[in-house]
């Protein structure tokens, strides 16, 4: 028995190592992961990295173009906005809100969706019927409109944005986890766990959840990209954090207003948003590819 357990532990370790190897060999994953790591560093150390105060207004330096264009001023690498604030510094500080929303909102949505999905998939019958119906109702409504409505109801601010994303996007996790749990529940190892006398909660938490995990991790990464977009949209509409806090969406809204006079005010945060969304997406896809063979084995 002890030998078997040791062999199993070795297998698990071997599988983990081989997943890690496969991920590191995937160039898309290393680039995407590297970029997100870079963003995390920017967000954590923004006061040290940002060349200027992101809130400092200086109307004599308003709408300066990025370095390399005529009329550019040294020190303002990506130029300034219509209030003379340094775009690069605002971009760096903006990573804070973007990543906070990405990690917190996606994790909470995943937690809520997973718990409900596990319960629905495991208990079936009326529990499943209730949860599934709820998911259908939820998904029948345009997400953007629903999030704007929710934030308008909750009042704007970071917590409302996170709450809105969680309330709307838990369905993505719930649907997948429910289906996966149903499939896993029919497997022999679950029957074995039951035969040994494991309690239902223990089987769910210790047997089924780890097997649902690979799908969940990939989905979570994709959701982080979605959360960044939703935050940007809400900032754009003017419903996210107050305008004192630099956000990419807020910068985009400002840049859209003056796109004709100062295109860089729009281009810089848009490029950042694009890169971040693509990075989360490629990472999610890479994780799906790397984890899939393990699932099938």
């Amino acid at each position: 028995m002890a030998e078997a357990a040791a062999a199993l532990a070795d297998d698990v370790r071997g599988a983990t190592v081989s997943i890690a190897r496969r991920l590191l060999r995937d160039r898309k994953v290393t680039i995407a992961g590297g970029f997100i790591l870079f963003l995390v560093i920017l967000a954590i150390f923004s006061p040290l990295i940002a060349p200027m105060d992101p809130l400092m207004q200086d109307l004599s330096n308003a709408e300066l173009p990025p370095v390399g264009f005529t009329d550019a001023a040294p020190g303002f690498w990506l130029g300034t906005d219509d209030l003379g604030r340094d775009i690069l510094s605002r971009l760096i500080y903006g990573a804070r809100i973007a990543l906070t929303v990405a990690f917190v909102a996606a994790t909470l949505a995943a937690t809520l969706g997973t718990v409900l999905g596990l319960i629905a998939g495991w208990y079936g019958r009326w529990v499943d019927a209730v949860v599934s119906r709820l998911v259908d109702v939820w998904m029948a409504f345009p997400a953007v409109l629903l999030s704007i409505l929710l934030v308008a109801i909750l009042g704007s601010g970071l917590y409302s944005v996170i709450a809105a994303i969680v309330v709307i996007d838990w369905t993505r996790f719930c649907r997948v986890v429910r289906a996966e749990t149903m499939a896993q529940a029919r497997m022999d190892y679950v029957t074995a766990a039951r035969a040994i006398g494991f309690r239902r909660g223990a089987i769910l938490a210790k047997e089924i959840l780890p097997n649902v995990m690979p799908v969940l991790v990939a989905l979570l990464t994709l959701e982080m990209g979605i959360a960044v977009i939703v935050e940007a949209i809400l900032s754009f509409v003017g419903l996210s954090v107050s305008s004192d806090t630099p956000t990419w969406g807020g910068m985009i809204a400002q840049g859209r207003q003056i796109a004709h006079e100062a295109w860089w005010v729009l281009a810089a945060p848009l490029a950042m948003l694009c890169a971040t969304v693509i990075a989360f997406n490629q990472l999610g896809d890479g994780l799906t590819r790397a984890l899939d063979p393990v699932l099938r084995r």
Binding site: A140, L145, A259, L266, L270
Partner: protein, 335 residues
Amino acid sequence: MALSAVLNRTVMAVATLLGVAIIVFVLIRVVPGDPIAMMIGPGASASDVIALRAHYGLDGSVSSQFLVWFKSALVGDFGISITMRRDVLTILGEHLPATIELAGLALLVAILIGGTVAVVGTLTRGRRSGAIVDAVNGIFLALPDFIWALIFVLLLGVAVPLLPLTGRIDPSVQIEFGTRFFLAESLLTGRFKVASDILAHMAMPTMALALPLAAVIGRVLKQALTEAMVQDYVLLARIKGMSELRLILGEALRNAVGPTLALTGVQATFLIGGTVVVERIFAYPGIGNLAIDAVINRDFPLIQGLVLLFGLIFILINVLVDLAVVALNPRLRYG
């Protein structure tokens, strides 16, 4: 999914819509933020406030307010917009055609682009060029309409200012329209100059909405086509000497459209959701742009009407997709 199932789903959807209407009705009323306080000047007396509340049906308990609203809504009276001080149904009727034309055009463009991508992808499958098509499609899948809209603003509105950035029609165009379907009407009455102006205004929002949907259609249809290409009937046609392109268009496509429609039909509803933010970016006067203003201004009657309208559109699209899937697959017609 037989016809009875379609009917069943529709009934469920209508029940859902009613539920959503009730939830929204209660939620917007229990939270702080009084529309009457926002519209009235500081000099108003208490009796003025009470009179205004009564005028907009905002007195009484939430449940009695809902009953009043529901009874009127059943006979087509959705109340008066608080910010615009006009009939909600009239306002919706003025803005809906703009969104229908935008979403319809975007759907058409998405099908054309997505179909082309799928056919090209199927022709080049297994080759290096095929891998490039897939990779590009992957990028298009990742980026949502919001980002595309802004990219177009920068590229075609600012860098190379080919297209107008805002609105639906040039303000200098002085033409009386009989309907609110400006594009359809000008095309049908042969005023092609006006139509081309409208199309220029619609080009960027249309592309922004169409590209993400086109990427989905491209991927799902290519998958279905690739599967169909190894079927016996395709093999038979190949033996008869048909060209690869004719095989795809003449044989495989017919069998691949059904599953693609079922899988992407739901995506078409995202198109309607996408109009909300895209219309905002291009200041396009549709119901999406209207919805954002209504929410920000806490215009209860207008929000309520819009929620119901969006819900109805969703149900309609789902029913149409269901019916089309049944129509395209004879095996589903009886069952």
